[in-house]
Symmetry: C3
Subunit: 142 residues, 3 copies
């Protein structure tokens, strides 16, 4: 088996898209994060959760989620690795990516958990990349 060659420009665009997207999320710029989805995009951050749909819905979900950290200052960093792309017949691109969440509290050491896999469907054109859907699975649930 050899992995089918990936379009070089596609691979770089997707990597760069993720870099900006996740820095927006970790920087608390939720509207910027939501704008990386298509207008009807869906975001399901854990298998049991109801997916948030649409940009306003995604912002709402993130605001709600982060209320648990009120009074508990925390810096989170989402790390990605091994971006595996599979172009789909409809022109979209499936992207399967490892993720680790790094959480830092003032003066503390990073806690690195959970380990996840991100399952994305991307829409890519000359203008850039948008996320049609994202489902995150968690490795400790098996």
């Amino acid at each position: 088996m050899t992995t089918a060659p990936v379009r070089t420009d596609l691979y770089a665009q997707v990597q760069h898209f993720y870099a900006h997207q996740m820095q927006a999320l970790d920087g608390g710029r939720f509207e910027e994060y939501a704008a990386t989805f298509t207008p009807d995009g869906s975001f399901q951050h854990s298998p049991g959760a109801e997916p948030a749909v649409g940009r306003a819905g995604i912002v709402h979900e993130l605001v709600e989620f982060h209320k648990r950290f009120e009074g508990d200052p925390v810096q989170r960093r989402h790390w990605f690795n091994h971006i595996a792309l599979e172009p789909q017949p409809d022109g979209s691109v499936r992207s399967t990516v490892y993720a680790l969440v790094v959480t830092v509290r003032p003066g503390g050491k990073p806690e690195i958990a959970p380990s996840c896999v991100v399952h994305d469907v991307l829409e890519v054109d000359g203008e850039g990349v948008l996320l049609r859907s994202r489902l995150v699975t968690h490795d400790q649930m098996f």
Copy 2:
């Protein structure tokens, strides 16, 4: 010093090759992993071990290695970072890569160990990438 420019398409192909290869390994798809080696490829997962040679030999080695996890369900994820390529005079490409092994057990937190360096020799052509040899060194042994 400036690092010699890398062929852009080569760099993307190698990154993508690793993404699919390691997702195959961590998914327990050992035949798919072995098929990323050349037919006479060798795989030495630690310096003291005897290298496994050939695709059947590599599958055998992986099956044997994973017997230690029977009755101990575990999800492992091999993370890679800093892929440094050095084209060789014979047309192959040396690739030196950082690796961390993330191990997750049901309900548990990820354990991140060991830290390794992967020393690969790659064969690359228009068809894709194949691995001629892989030697993994471990950082805690020094």
Copy 3:
């Protein structure tokens, strides 16, 4: 929002530059690391520190810093993730990157700390990449 497409070749060059640069640093090849900076480049490895300026100054800073590990053999690995590039009007490129420092002692498990963000200004031409300035911020200081 879509992230502006990045020049594919630029993205691969920068990734590859970082791979070689950080393997040089972690390998103790400080002159090779310093040579990845412009002749008047500056390197500030933590916000409170005085920046080291110029290649000789950077080598000096690294030699001084590593004296604290004399008699304490240690292998450090600097991991990078999410390289976000922003071309600047003067032709330079801002690069904002997540970093984790992995520290391994003989026989031990990796310690992964601190979590940092690397703020680089890169000069890129047909010859390759050079670093004009690097400032590293630490996540636990907030």
